[in-house]
Amino acid sequence: MSTTVQQIREAVGRTGEARERVRQHRSTDAVIAALAQAAKNWLDPSSPWRKRAVERAPAATGFSEAMVSEAVDLTFGAITRESLGELLDGELGDERTGPRLIVHFLAGNVPVPGIASICRGLLLRSANLVKVSSRDPVFPALFVESLREVDAELADCVAVLDWRRDEVALTRAALERAQAVIAYGDDDTISALQRLVPRSAKFFGYGHGISFAVVGKEAMTEENLPQLAQAAAFDASVYDQQGCMSPHVFYVEEGGQLGPRKFAAALAEAMAAYQARVPRGKLSVEEAAQIAKLRGAYEFRAASDKSVGIWASEAGNDWLVIYEDEPMFTPSCLNRVVFVKPIERLESVLPLVRRFASNLSTVGVAPMNKRAAAFAAELIKMGVPRVCPIGQMQRPALNGRTA
């Protein structure tokens, strides 16, 4: 069933009327309370909302049911009264001057950014037209439904629609009366959209990014390693590594009680444990071929070069850990494929990633000690938007802007 220009205009009208009502009858605190309650209603293990997401989301997202359930926890667990308060950061205006209509273009299968975007718009008591991603048509619509149960009038301020990216006439119709546009996607998608946005509207584009993590030598102790590896495996495995906060490489500092190779082995074990609990989704043949290609190349090298290590799931291609001395940053083919590389000192990482600092999303660090803080400051100076402890990479603040 495809969307029409007529439907889009109706949605703009409907959400605009709802917005007027909400502005008269809702304080910001009331909006925060409603959103927090709606989010909370997802978190119970037997929540009907969670159940619906688990039933409906795997097909489009490609995630396993357990992964969808994990995504529910990560997404709605992050929406609290406190975090919603931080979302009112003034960037889009305050609750008095918020845009009349915000149009959101969502992308990809990771639900957090889209849900946060909707919350942002509602906090400003704007009307919100949401074009969902074909990779996740489920979460935004279900969230608005769950909000309707708490506050129907507030939920009426959001219309969730879908149309194909190449249906430019529909995109234009959606943008006609926009005062603000929030767009997620790859660089091409964002710049194509930006060209269609009326001059009078504010435009916020969020492109794709890439992440990695660094382990300091203090963390490499017998006692600490299992817990560290578990945290690292969580960061690398969640969303099957499709999120921009998913690490591709773990750089491990030499000179600790245990060497970097030990980290790789422990990470592999933890990846296997996570896989047993939250299986990776089914891959396309192209995705599986990328993993097979990489694995073949490293298996062949590892046979003759003892410095190369490779750990793989027993059957199939559920996850892969590759250890090599070559420190160059190696982007992963995703789907739970990670590289572990030794570095001499924490700072050795800086020249390796400086060239693409503008593409970086998150750097995970362990342990968060004084040395790591100085290192984090260097990363932030370089333009890295977010540095956080390993294990927290997939738990950004709702406003996405924590250093």
């Binding site: 950014p113 921009c244 043949v285 090298r301 291609n317 999303s361």
Partner: protein, 364 residues
């Protein structure tokens, strides 16, 4: 030369001499393949190490399908030869994309290599035994001594090319004016043409003809061989569209355009059986001295018919290098048909979330 190897080479040459049409029984292929495996296991140390890692050896492999396949990427980091590379009579390099190092295929002798080229080419492009000038949209072997494709063109031109055959790429440039001039001349003389080139060279030609508002209508014996992907070198054109352009600009129907699938790391090429069978098909013939398996990338086992997977080639003509090569290309075998279809390079897997991946991550 090692005695075993000489004897192996003789057996393979004898098999090739029987021609493309004569299928090999599985038993015969199996005997030869496992003998080649034993030879390569003995003489190529990195391959032996890989086999040991996979816990496979000539003593334990009971069927050719179990022989360990070498990933094409291994040709980049290792000299995969079963003789001292210094004694190589030729050395072919992969073109590769930027950022990648070069893979090398060392040849001990040209005898086997050329014996694999000649009958196969004849069967698929000259089933009518025609002799005509070849217009080759590639550099000559003199200009590109490390290109396996140019070498192959040199061989087929020597064997089958009539007077007037020529290469139309010099210093990396397609000699478009000369080509158009020669094409016009052939049309005026009512001569059929035989064009051979990479897909992107043909796209370049068609773009030029479109721009100049030129069209040819060559006589019925005309034909073309196109090969290779695009590797980001020109605008990409789907195979269906490309074949439409042959018809539109040259008057060569798609039943007379043959796709060649080959790679630097192999000695044997695979062609669409289109001209050989007289009907347009994407199915490639596997000559009797080779086997092709389509491998499910998840399980590592043979994919079911009609299911896409990675193409694995067993090429006996590679006796001095690596017989069993795991390519990075996707292919499919069809129920009830022999041969296989090539679906293209296993690249460009779609990003589903918001992370860049190895394909989309480009550092300027």
């Amino acid at each position: 030369m090692d005695k075993t190897a000489v004897e192996l080479q003789q057996r393979i040459l004898a098999l090739m001499a029987r021609g493309v049409a004569q299928a090999t029984a599985d038993e015969e292929f199996d005997r030869l393949a496992r003998d080649v495996f034993a030879f390569q296991h003995q003489w190529c140390a990195p391959y032996r190490a890989y086999c040991e890692r996979l816990k496979l050896a000539p003593q334990t492999v009971v069927h050719w399908k179990e022989i360990p396949a070498v990933p094409t990427s291994a040709f980049k980091g290792f000299a995969l030869a079963c003789f001292p590379e210094a004694e190589a009579v030729a050395e072919f390099h992969t073109s590769g994309t930027t950022r990648e190092s070069t893979g090398r295929h060392y040849l001990r002798t040209l005898e086997l290599y050329e014996a694999a080229i000649v009958p196969n080419f004849a069967a698929h492009l000259l089933p009518d035994k025609a002799r005509m000038p070849m217009m080759i949209l590639m550099p000559s072997p003199q200009e590109a001594p490390h290109s396996s494709l140019s070498h192959m063109m040199g061989v087929v031109m020597r064997e089958f090319g009539a007077d007037g055959s020529a290469y139309y790429v010099e210093r990396g440039e397609l000699l478009i004016e000369k080509l158009v001039r020669d094409l016009s001349e052939a049309q005026q003389d009512g001569q059929p043409v035989f064009l051979l080139g990479t897909a992107f060279a043909f796209v370049h030609l068609f773009d030029h003809l479109a721009q100049q508002n030129l069209k040819f209508e060559f006589s019925p014996g005309s034909r073309a061989m196109e090969t290779g992907g695009f590797k980001g070198r020109s605008r990409e054109v789907s195979k269906v569209d490309l074949y439409g352009l042959f018809e539109r600009f040259l008057g060569i129907p798609k039943a007379r355009v043959v796709n060649e699938y080959g790679m630097t790391e192999l000695s044997t090429q695979f062609y669409d059986a289109t001209m050989r069978t007289g009907r347009r098909t994407d199915l490639k013939t596997v000559p009797p001295w080779a086997r092709v398996l389509v491998i499910d990338p998840t399980s590592g086992r043979e994919a079911a018919e009609n299911e896409a997977g990675l193409i694995r080639v067993f090429d006996l003509a590679n006796v001095w290098s690596m017989m069993c090569v795991q390519t990075e290309d996707l292919g499919v075998s069809r129920a009830g048909e022999t041969g296989f279809e090539v679906l293209g390079r296993a690249a460009g897997a779609e990003v589903r979330g918001c992370s860049l991946n190895a394909e989309s991550f480009v550092v300027e």
